[in-house]
């Protein structure tokens, strides 16, 4: 039975998944929350994945989290009212590819499954027709879909480049693996609920949460569609897709020693001594090039993140996934109603820190918009991260960002999950 008014409190449970995201939002429509009847509870899961589990995690860590989610849902109506998967990176959805975890989550019969518009299976990701006949959005989706394959190829190449440039190749491996297609998880997500329960959202669209969260106003602030984004010209997108097609399609990518180009002219021995200095340089050039390619892929997928804003009375919760500046730019600078959005953002009381605290996911303009920062009791920041996993330039979490969060908010990080525990709760009274 539907509650007749808004929730009285919200509990945000941040599971310690290492380098990844997994949040269970529980909305309680009576006070105190412990006494809420099953009909007075709503549960929303936002992401469930990791790139690297915490050191302390025992075998079956994900299973334990899944069971905890199930228990929480069973206190209510025995189901997950909504599932949000912000984007396709493994650190946000790997759990859905796990053969033991997935059945549990599927068993919770999500009432609505929310994903970015780029995941809509109706958009052909394997179209073979000429690019000219595809719309800009279809082309973009195909480009995103190709990226997993590209990442795979690039990773293979990285293997023989490592002797010349190990540090770059380590970064390459990290980012490349994150961008692998996660095919199982993606397929399982499509099957986790009947098609009519899936919502593929974009800036300004209905989220689908209105149907299950009474008294909660939700707003989708990203990602924008190509049609919405005036600065992302359609032709440019096609150029970009075409560029990636060229990168992708040479047979023999990642196949050392198969000499696909001119096998008869290939030397059978190692390069002669006089050429070795330059061969090493060429390997370094290539590894840097691959890293740049993978970074581009990574950024493109991050920028498909669903950005969700929940308004409950005077409380405002912001969950931006891994959105980077390209995604945020639309809501902050380009949208027709950007002033109204900025006004909403000004009132944020809980901010899930974007992209595990990396350097490019909390734009200054966004941070400047939060009017509650500096009032620690009214402003909470929540970060799910793990130091030492990412080895590239610019550490994650970024020290400067963490210092700012600590100074201007009640800062909670999954890294500080008490020993023996596997989650932390933030309670918000509406």
């Amino acid at each position: 039975m539907a509650p007749t008014r808004g929730p009285r409190s919200i509990r945000v449970r941040a599971y310690h998944v290492g380098f990844g995201d997994c949040f269970l939002l529980s909305f309680y429509y009576t006070s105190p929350a412990e006494q809420a009847s099953p009909a007075d509870q709503r549960h929303v899961l936002i992401d469930f994945g990791t790139r690297k589990l915490p050191e302390s995690a025992a075998k079956g860590h994900f299973l334990k989290i899944a069971q905890n989610i199930k228990e929480e849902c069973e206190r209510g109506e025995g189901k997950l009212h909504a599932l949000v998967v912000t984007h396709r990176h493994s650190d946000h959805l790997s759990a859905f590819g796990d053969s033991k975890v997935y059945p549990i989550l599927k068993g919770l019969s999500p009432g609505v499954v929310i994903q970015p518009w780029t995941e809509d299976p109706k958009l052909p990701t394997d179209a073979t027709g000429p690019l000219k006949s595809l719309t800009a959005s279809q082309t973009y989706v195909r480009y995103l879909s190709d990226q997993g394959l590209l990442a795979q190829g690039l990773l293979k190449e990285g293997r023989w480049l490592a002797d010349a440039d190990a540090a770059t190749c380590r970064q390459l491996a990290f980012l490349g693996e994150e961008n692998l297609k996660n095919l199982n998880a993606v397929k399982n997500l499509q099957k986790i609920a009947p098609p009519e329960k899936h919502r593929y959202v974009y800036y300004g669209s209905e989220s689908g949460l209105e149907e299950v969260l009474e008294g909660v106003k939700t707003m989708v602030l990203g990602p924008p569609t190509l049609e919405q984004y005036p600065t992302l010209k359609k032709d440019k997108t096609k150029c970009e897709a075409e560029y990636w097609r060229l990168c992708l399609s040479t047979p023999g990518r990642g196949q050392a020693g198969r000499h696909q180009l001119f096998s008869a002219a290939a030397a059978r021995s190692k390069p002669p001594a006089y050429a070795r200095w330059f061969v090493d340089r060429a390997k370094m050039v290539r590894s840097n090039q691959l890293l740049e390619l993978v970074r581009n892929l990574d950024e493109a997928l991050n920028n498909t993140s669903v950005i969700l804003l929940f308004e409950i009375g005077d409380k405002c919760l912001l969950f931006p996934g891994d959105a980077e500046v390209g995604n945020w730019s639309y809501a902050l600078f380009e949208a027709v109603d950007k002033d109204a959005r900025r006004e909403q953002l000004a009132g944020v009381t809980l901010y899930k820190v974007g992209h595990h605290g990396s350097m490019n996911a909390t734009p200054k303009t966004l941070w400047a918009t939060f009017e509650n920062k500096g009032k620690k009791k009214q402003f909470t920041t929540l970060m799910s991260t793990m130091a030492g996993v990412y080895t590239g330039p610019g550490e994650i979490p970024r020290g400067k960002l963490v210092a700012e969060l600590q100074a201007k908010s009640t800062y909670i990080t999954t890294e500080k999950t008490p020993s023996g525990e596997f989650f932390q709760d933030v309670i918000i009274q509406a």
Binding site: C239, R253, G257, H259, A267, A282, V325, G326, N360, K364
Partner: protein
């Protein structure tokens, strides 16, 4: 009996444009003359070393082996090969890249009258003709080489090392870097664009010396144009004729000769079928320079290319006017091509020589225009016949580019400098002695006090003067560098940092000048950009701040690699956004 002198040049077959440009069904090839040398396997010469390693498949290809014949000449092993064999033999690809690089190098040395060095310490530029699988090719100073990628096209693999334009373009980057190494430092939109535009100018104008190719290019016409070449009446003895209709600026702009990298463009562009760049088609407008879309270096560089190419077309057309018609409405194709080659050759020489008259850092298109006009006036004071300088000035102005010098050409130095403590001969050869001279005259030269100052280069420049005598000048560059925090800018140099730049941001400022010394060691020209010029430095800082340089967006030693990819994917960053 005296031993005969060995030849100074040797010839190699190259693909004159790229494999996609064909005439009567055949790929256009040409035999080009390059400086003769005792080549090692590779080809591996005294300035260029081809190392054919493919990092995408971890494959090293066996180098071309050369035999030295009588009179110490090298026989081109691919002279008699079919085009099919050439396309499928990586050793031909290696030789093709080598020959084009050497040809462009020789062209620079001819224009400047001296050896032109690379910007790194070693003598040989390395070339990787099949460096990786990527629709990219670039010069990397750090790696002392040119890297050419390959990628799958619709009708087979596209090799960037087989594109004359691409190889010439990348070679020019390397040569320009050797002549003005500070043009790679972050500066204004013009400086980044200048590298790209200048490389395109050299690539396009250098094709005109391949007369057979120009003939074929003219015969091919532009897209959608009808055939305009006919056979001359036998009695005229003129061979092939070309219609005057074909020889208008509008028609020539569309020519394949003025399009850059046809094959790569066709494969990468959407809609397909276009060359990578067709700058000559850019309609004159004064608005490009201020237009935000023309801030991307390649795009902005096109404005410079358009200005030079349209000046070239005007001169070419002017040179054709006096030619008599063989039959009504038709000119001798041979003569048309000759006039084109002469005009292109002269313009190319002016453009290359102008580099000696450019400031060492922070070049703008206006600086280049003043340098071009000064360089040509020095070499050919009488411009009345074909009006090269007038055409250049008009063409540049039609694209909104005004000369940097208020007098159009650079003003001659008039200030008397002190020579008492320096010696004449070392001043022209020894950077320490030149620095001594600068130091003694630092007030007269109005150098910024209290910052690092150093001599970057000291080079002789030899050319024939207007009176027919050989003229020896000396071109020297000095640089001034200040590294400081944004907070110190106002206090120390009266420069305002960009509004929202954090005051602890480290900032490096550059300034410097080019001193052109006459044959007596007197300063003839002092072309400079002062380090403490507050207005210009503020503009540069604002541009760099807004384009994300300080957030690490534009940094990186392999700048051209990154730049080319950013352009290929049409990527732009939100300029003013930063992260906490």
């Amino acid at each position: 009996m005296a031993r005969p002198l060995p030849p100074l040049t040797q010839s190699f077959t190259i693909i004159a444009q790229d494999p996609s440009v064909r005439y009567k069904g055949r790929i256009l090839t040409s035999e080009v003359e390059v400086p003769a040398e005792k080549l090692n396997h590779g080809p591996w010469g005294y300035r260029v070393h081809v190392v054919d390693y493919d990092a995408s498949t971890d494959t090293f290809y066996r180098p071309v082996a050369y035999k030295t014949g009588r009179r110490q000449t090298i026989r081109d092993p691919f002279k008699e090969s079919s085009n099919r064999d050439r396309l499928t033999d990586p050793r031909f690809h290696a030789q093709n890249a080598y020959a084009i690089v050497m040809r462009i190098l020789a062209r620079f040395e001819f224009a400047l009258g001296r050896r032109v060095g690379w910007s790194f310490k070693r003598h040989q530029l390395k070339i990787a003709p099949h460096a990786f699988q990527d629709a990219n090719a670039f010069y990397s100073r750090q790696d002392e080489g040119l890297f050419f990628g390959y990628f799958p096209g619709r009708t087979g693999t596209v090799f960037s090392c087989l594109s004359h334009d691409v190889v010439a373009h990348e070679t020019t980057h390397a040569l320009l870097d050797g002549l003005r190494e500070l043009y790679m430092v972050p500066s204004s939109p013009d400086q980044a664009a200048f590298h790209e535009g200048f490389a395109d100018i050299v690539a396009l104008l250098s094709v005109f010396s391949l007369k057979e190719i120009v003939k074929a290019g003219l015969a091919l016409g532009g897209k959608g144009e009808r055939r305009t070449v006919i056979r001359a009446p036998k009695r005229s003895g003129q061979g092939t004729l070309i219609s005057r209709e074909r020889l208008t600026i509008q028609s020539l702009r569309r020519s394949v000769l003025l399009s850059l990298a046809e094959q790569m463009g066709k494969e990468m562009s959407v809609p397909q079928g276009q060359a990578l760049r067709q700058s000559a088609k850019l309609t004159p407008s004064r608005r490009y320079i201020e237009n935000a879309d023309f801030r991307e270096p390649h795009r902005r560089g096109e404005v410079l290319v358009a200005a030079v190419l349209n000046a070239f077309l005007r001169v070419w057309i002017a040179r054709l006017r006096p030619l008599g018609e063989i039959t009504p409405g038709y000119l001798s194709l041979e003569r048309v091509v000759e006039e084109g080659a002469t005009a292109a050759d002269h313009l190319l020489t002016i453009c290359i020589r102008a580099i000696d008259y450019c400031p060492p850092v922070h070049i703008t298109f206006g600086d280049f225009l003043s340098a071009v006009l000064t360089a040509d006036e020095e070499a050919c004071p009488d411009d009345s016949r074909f009006g090269y300088r007038k055409c250049l000035l008009r063409s540049f102005e039609s694209y909104g580019i005004r000369p940097a010098s208020p007098q159009i050409t650079w003003m001659r130095a008039t200030r008397l400098l002190e020579h008492e403590r320096v010696h004449f001969d070392p001043l022209k050869q020894d950077p320490d002695e030149l620095f001594h001279f600068i130091w003694e005259n630092r007030k007269a030269l109005r150098l910024c006090d209290g910052v690092f100052t150093g001599v970057v280069s000291l080079r002789p420049s030899v050319r024939r003067g207007p009176d027919g005598f050989v003229l020896q000048e000396t071109v020297a560059e000095y640089v001034q560098i200040a590294s400081l925090k944004a907070s110190d800018l106002r206090r120390r140099l009266k420069i305002r940092p960009p509004e929202d730049m954090p005051l602890d941001t480290p900032v490096t400022l550059y300034g410097g000048g080019t001193l052109v010394l006459d044959e007596w060691g007197n300063v003839k020209y002092h072309i400079r950009n002062r380090l403490d010029h507050a207005t210009l430095q503020e503009q540069r800082l604002k541009y760099l701040w807004e384009s994300g340089f300080f957030a690490g967006q534009a940094a990186g030693l392999r700048r051209f690699a990154q730049l080319h990819r950013m352009r290929a994917v049409g990527k732009r960053v939100r300029a003013t956004e930063g992260w906490i």
